[in-house]
Amino acid sequence: MTLDTVAVAQTTPDNVQPFAELGLKPDEYARIKEILGRRPTSSELAMYSVMWSEHCSYKSSKVHLKQFGEKAPKSDALLVGIGENAGVVDVGQGYAVTFKIESHNHPSFVEPYQGAATGVGGIVRDILTMGARPIAVMDPLRFGPADAPDTRRVLPGIVAGVGGYGNCLGLPNIGGEVTFDETYIGNPLVNALCVGVMKHSDIKLAKAAGAGNLVVLYGAKTGGDGIGGVSVLASETFGAGGSTKRPSVQVGDPFVEKVLIECSLEIFAEDLVVGIQDLGGAGLSCATSELASGGSGGMKVALDKVPLRDPSLSPEEILMSESQERMCAIVEPNKIERFLEICKKWDVTVTVIGEVTDGDRLEITWNGELIVNVPPRTVAHEGPVYNRPLAQPAYIDQVNSQKVNVPMPTTAAEIKAAVLKLAGAPNLADKSWVTAQYDKYVQGNTIQAQPDDSGMVRLDETTHLGVAISTDANANWSYLNPYQGAKLALAEAARNIATAGARPLAVTNCLNFGSPEDPGVMWQFAESVRGLADGCLEMGLPVTGGNVSFYNQTGSVAILPTPVIGVLGVIQDVRKRTPMSFKVAGLELFLLGDTEEDLAGSEWAFLHGVRVGQSPDADLAREMRLIELLLEGNAFFAAAHDLSQGGLSAGLTEMVLRHNIGATVSLANPAIDLLSETPGRVIVAIDASKTSALEALATKYNIAISKLGTTGGESLTINESVIPLTQLRETHTSTFPRLFG
């Protein structure tokens, strides 16, 4: 086995290299040769191939994502913006919060437990890398039909993986989504969000500054897991005799990550690092090139010093390995002793693997021989950019021109049946089967968790400052109109936070789509990004970062466009939040917002196999007035609950079951009132004495209100339809146990 050094590459320019097998296009390979002025070594080729992949380089999405910067609203809250591991927002009192969502879709289909577990692990390290203590996770999940055999394989594994990893890290799981649609069969979506908190002064960045500073690798040892195409490279370039085939899905070790978190936080607290980066996708290739290009560019690394789980790994494999639970820090020489001491205390493996240099090249050696000599920016940031063709798909006009034609309930018996049908529908049914597998109590700061509208955690036990987060997507609307769909998801997430009394502050996103090589999918993507960027500008909410997942597609069938939007907000005193439901009888129930005939993309239409019509238009000016109303009404609301999928029917079901207090409601037009999903609506419960205060707020913010009824009793009574709570609960809670055991 000969080592493909820089010297060898210079003397053998015509060696055939397996760039295509590694996923590089001929023109991309040609560009690498042009950058280097020679053919790349096999190690350099490995680095470029992973860093220029869609996942790492955002080459298909970059031209669209830049709108988040161009259309960014003025915001004093943003301390660190897009481009770092996660954005950081100022939440007051000297606290900064960082949050981000990432996808781990493909690995979770192949190996549900480990795919989901390492999805959680990866996003938690991103948050830790900013210098923050991770304080909560959320997990928006999407699956094929609930009764499909593959869903029964994938869902329990993914839920157990999210729980197994997050529970063991001691991070409360405070929310998420579980949604089913046939397009997700073969393409389940596992999005994981993490939020962390720090003081402003503790923010850390991925940069390797200061010649002579040390490059330190700490955490788990490097193994052969998570290596994608490199086995091709190893076998074709070096012949047999190397390592054997290994799973391309990484295997997580949450215990190591928990120790890594505590060890890192102790290191940060003593201000021992200049820069830091976690090792996620593309492993060391990513960490070294990003750190180096975050500084002046110069770095030397002795790759043979990397501690290995498998001593037979080749340098190329070490560079590409995605072994979990590893971090790379830049440390001043006079602080290294203390750094090593803290690692020793936590039994964390730590190795100095190189140093920052004056130059502008990233140089990597293997037993003293130079195997990589590249300008790091060309690896990390100057990858290819594609302006892929896009075209509005033919289905759009076809579905938009059709009217929703579904049976509507009229008699009392039909209305009762409709409410029960929605209550037990997999998309709306009680998710306790899932959430009971997640620890929501650990850390002792959880104020709200599933099934509340948003997750809420306390940041400060003395001042009671807290943050709330919600993630939302309505893929049915995005399918009918991706531009409006993204705006509507943004509005819903913001509203979910405001119902509790938290002020929306910043946005993250996880954009899940089919193949970017399909112009129709690319159009859906471009429209979604445009909608989200326009929406954020209008609502004054900066996008702090996000993630794009393409190729969620089986054959020619892409998933529904699924932009998952996360909104974070601040609440000054968590003790004063508005709860999602009422605990007493005799309160007045009001609906905020008008109800139109919005059945397109509704759960009722979905249950009848209909996905046609036009999505509602997002009226963000009205949404913002509604948010202000909710924040002001927080002072006297007994409860407030957002209406979304399943409309008023689902909203009332969730409220009455929460504390087992019924309600009596009278509706003028029960079918539409119950089943329409007009956006921008909230149910509030107030004491009767506050009616005029509510009316005054409605006038002030120009929001329509209508009286629904009163709380109390042991049934949900809608006009003449009486639904006993016991029956409603049985229907709502039995779906998941019946499907998943």
């Binding site: 157990a160 063991c168 215990f255 109590y441 650990v442």
Partner: protein, 222 residues
């Protein structure tokens, strides 16, 4: 009075336990697994979590931590020791308490608000409760099913050493619905559910777990 809270690698509920100790009126003292030093504490809590990842039997590695030698010695002399969840598992592995905690009967991790009945209030950790008092506190674990042989079970029951039982449906397959037990002397208590997560209604389902942390003050006053 000083109550020590031990942190093993992988311990998760240590800060929560310390918060509960303070809420109960005592001083919380952090203890590190690798230190053979109890820092003059009057009582010790082994909090919940996944010490050493629980990759071997839960608690099987932690029992060998240097600090545990001192805990075992002090417990023998009557120092109050409370093991919650993973801490209960460590106490069983240390043979300070009999039996073992095994995988939940439905094989899933389970997090829920659980009603339990206090059976024995004559321990260092339960004196704030009345016998028969029912409280709701979080239960959250994957291996919470209390098991022991028939002889041990009979002994625990005969000697009144079952301190708390689950009310209603058995959440995890524990024998005789056992949620917590004590040693013969009544100073060492193991409890599967988490009283430290029920010290106020803001962050917990109730404030009914606080009694475990006020009980210890009573024990010291005596």
């Amino acid at each position: 009075m000083r109550v020590g809270v031990i942190t093993f690698p992988g311990t998760l509920d240590d800060r929560d336990a310390a918060r509960a100790v303070v809420a109960g009126g005592a001083e919380a003292v952090s203890l590190w697994h690798a230190d053979a030093d109890l820092k003059n504490v009057d009582a010790v809590i082994l909090p919940g979590g996944f010490s050493y990842g629980d990759y071997l039997r839960c608690g099987a590695i932690s029992r060998f931590a240097p600090v545990m030698n001192l805990v075992i010695e002090a417990a023998g002399k009557g120092m109050p020791v409370l093991g919650i969840c993973n801490g209960f598992q460590v106490l069983c592995e240390s043979h300070l308490l009999p039996g073992a905690l095994t995988r939940n009967s439905d094989l899933h991790f389970l997090c829920k608000d659980q009603e339990i009945e206090i059976i024995n209030n004559a321990t260092a950790w339960t004196s704030s409760y009345k016998p028969g008092e029912k409280i709701v506190i979080p239960l959250k674990n994957g291996e919470g099913s209390f098991q022991c042989d028939d002889e041990t079970l009979a002994k625990l029951e005969d000697q009144g050493r079952v301190i708390a039982r689950y009310v209603g449906q058995n959440p995890n397959g524990s024998r005789n619905l056992i949620a917590g037990i004590t040693n013969e002397r009544g100073n060492v208590v193991g409890l599967m559910p988490h009283p430290e997560h029920a010290i106020d209604e803001l962050t917990g389902p109730t404030a009914q777990g606080l009694g475990f942390f006020t009980s210890i003050l009573n024990a010291m006053v005596k």
